[in-house]
Amino acid sequence: MTKAKFTKMRISGLSLVVPDYPQSIDDHLDHFDHDPAKLARAKKIVGYGTRYTSPPGCTPTDLCTAAGRRLIDEMKIDLSEIDALICIMQKPDFSQPGSSFILHKRFNLPKSCACLDLNQGCPGFVYGLWVAGSLLESASCRKILLLTGDYYDSSPHLCNRLLFGDAAAAVLVEYDASAAPSFFNLGADGNCYDVIINPSSGARLPIRSDVLDLVVHDKQGDDLKLIDGYLDGLEVFNFSIREVPPNVTELFDYAGVAPGDIDFAAFHQANKQIIDHIARKSGLNKDQYSSLTFSEYGNQSSVSVPGVIAHILKDRVSTGRLKVLLCGYGIGAAWASCITDLDHIYCSGIIKEKFDHMRTREDEISFWVKRITGADHDQS
């Protein structure tokens, strides 16, 4: 596996935004055949609770904008000092260009700030942090804005949708010659590329009318469309509990720390059962990790690792120093873990924000027609 030790990387701030439109699993009794016992069982096994979903017209890029603006304002970041913006996102506003450029514009970043997009899901935050750490270690950057956001509400495949909550995080990562060392261990298995996939979404099977209404019955008994995301739950469960614990154990050895030295482990919040298995097999105790963020906010995809920090550790990382394990795993298949110190960082906690009055689909079409015909000036 790919390992790295960085001695000049410091996470100095983190803000996290969820759209303030909560949905309780209790409102989805129909999905459990109207049987309260089935719902109770699902809550116990999976950890279902509340999740937050974006209103129409609000995209992961909009959520990232809100998280980034809060970070910039609260930390009084001098934008001229930002050398790079890294955007980790699977659902950018456009298939081209990447959303890093939209965010570059919205934050009024200078032309000296480079933009980079990473197409990564659940393991994405740790992958992005690894890239940021590499850029700081080589001294090609001094300050990097890391943005990540995801949403799932566009998918009508209800079974999967109930797992996911929308969110975005903004993180400032800085060059610090006296930073405590950070350790990374990353891996991937392309053989599992199709266990979490959106089959009709790119160049391989572009969305056309022939797939719009094509409903298929998956082997787990759920109906879905090829334009929706497909998730093979059992395979995801199996590769997660097979690959992640050895990755974490290797990282402990590489970093020279014991599981007991970790103050808290922020695991990707896939669901309660997967988290419990991975943590137990990694040698961690119940007070060293939590699946509460899944239950209160849903699986936030690439945002879930910062989500745990914002949700569970806000006060502890704001006022003290914590040695944390950050661990993401999922789509790819990929997995990545990191041991780093969070030492008196700015942490917003989880901010619930309204996104009313977003542009409608009609507004969007009209905007682009005017933009392209020259009938209007750029107003994005």
């Binding site: 109770a40 069982r41 096994i45 787990q220 059992l234 469960f237 199996n238 137990r280």
Partner: protein
């Protein structure tokens, strides 16, 4: 783990009120769904260090088949 313990554990995983016996057909149990399949896969990994995939689950007809795979 004894067979009686396995049956009790499986009953708990399925969150089922009535006891189970070895001859029961899995597909006839109302609690046997994708949720229980993942929970049973977790139980096998934890207790027996065995990985169960989709093909395994397709081959399990009765509770007895599960116990045979567990080796008890």
């Amino acid at each position: 783990m004894t067979r009686a313990e396995f049956l009790a554990e499986l009953q708990d995983i399925l969150q089922r009120d009535e006891p189970l016996d070895a001859e029961m057909v899995l597909k006839d149990l109302p609690e046997w769904d994708s949720l229980s399949i993942m929970a049973v896969a977790g139980f096998f990994d934890k207790e027996f260090s065995k990985t169960l995939n989709f093909t395994d689950f397709e081959s399990f007809i009765t509770v007895e088949d599960l116990m045979a795979r567990a080796g008890i």
